[in-house]
């Protein structure tokens, strides 16, 4: 009835190189880093004794959001030193997610596995190193592999599970969660855009008004992606804080 061919997965995800070894994904990642650095460099130039105005207000809103919404909820007061790291993570991931709905970019940089995988590996290294630094290598392994309050006989069962969950599953799920969410949103947008285009250009005149339905779905999904882009960045920062907090204070 309708000739609708879903494009090859590579044609919606792989972009032509702008110049060798620098494609659109890399451009978005670089832009995300540059924009977030610029915001805070501009904000810090203002005199901090006067009332904040303009871009400094904006920067302070972000800092306060990370402090109240992420750090205080998971790590408490002593975790406030981690605010800059978590804020960098949050801003970078958010600015990588948001191009998925900005016209002409139309591609979240985090929908390529390389970006979330690298971020998750970085978080993995950081929380392990923090744990070893705070508790010593023996203490860290003891508190992760042998959680207190478990009957001795159950350690045969608990220790392998804890090992797999702390060493393998955590970074894997951290990376896959971000990747799959952004990828799923991107594929949904492509599907409904193609469907409405195919219906609007159908040979049967009766099909043309039907094309309004997938178009409304496209609009609805675009506004849904605004939420998802924010939520995924928030969850990534939150889980990072939880893992770091767990590595520094084993009793929680």
């Amino acid at each position: 009835m309708i000739a609708l061919d879903f494009p090859e997965i590579n044609s919606i995800l792989v972009w032509k190189d702008l110049f060798p070894s620098f494609n659109k994904i890399a451009l978005i990642a670089v832009l995300a880093a540059v924009i977030s650095i610029t915001i805070f460099l501009l904000a810090v130039r203002q005199d901090h004794k006067e009332a904040p105005k303009g871009i400094r207000n904006f920067a302070e809103v972000i800092v306060e959001f990370i402090e109240d919404g992420v750090v205080m909820q998971t790590m408490g007061k002593e975790g406030l030193a981690w605010t800059p790291f978590l804020m960098t993570m949050f801003l970078f991931i958010y600015l990588c997610n948001v191009p998925g709905i900005i016209p002409f970019f139309q591609m979240p940089a985090t929908a390529r596995m390389a970006v979330p995988l690298f971020l998750a590996l970085m978080v993995w290294v950081i929380y392990n190193v923090t744990g070893i630094k705070h508790q010593g290598i023996g203490g860290y392994l003891k508190s992760t592999l042998f959680p207190p309050g478990v009957p001795k006989a159950l350690y045969i069962l608990v220790t392998p599970i804890e090992f797999i969950s702390a060493i393998i599953v955590r970074p894997f799920s951290l990376a896959v969660r971000l990747f799959a969410n952004m990828m799923a949103g991107h594929i949904l947008l492509v599907t409904f855009a193609l469907l409405s285009e195919a219906l609007f250009q159908a040979k049967d005149k009766i099909l043309i008004p039907v094309g309004i339905l997938p178009f409304f779905m496209l609009v609805f999904l675009t506004s849904f992606e605004v939420l998802v882009a924010f939520l995924q960045a928030y969850i990534f920062a939150m889980l990072t804080a939880v893992y770091i907090g767990g590595a520094t204070h084993p009793e929680h």
């Binding site: 997965i9 919404g69 969660r177 889980l239």
Partner: protein, 90 residues
């Protein structure tokens, strides 16, 4: 009936058969993977709303924990989605 018989009789190369099987099972992979997390997230959010309604002063803490729980539960469905992509396109 004749059309179906023709379809069955039509010779398929092994590569085509494999593609068809992969495309069919990709749908099952995602559909089955979505059942458990769907029930889980519904239950989780429902209970969280109940808790927030009973104790509005604890709403902030409940919300944070709720998002964490959603993130962990949702990961299962998303792994199913990755399997879907791998079966369909790889």
């Amino acid at each position: 009936m004749e059309a179906i018989a023709q379809l069955i009789a039509a010779e398929m190369t092994p590569a085509e058969l494999k593609n068809n099987a992969a495309a069919a099972s990709a749908g099952y992979a995602y559909g089955l993977a979505a059942i458990g997390p769907g029930i889980g997230i519904g239950y989780l959010v429902g209970k969280s709303v109940e808790a927030m309604a009973r104790q509005p002063e604890a709403a902030g803490m409940v919300r944070t924990t709720m998002f964490l729980g959603i993130a962990f539960t949702e990961a299962l469905a998303l792994i199913g989605f990755v399997v879907f992509i791998l079966l369909k396109f790889a």
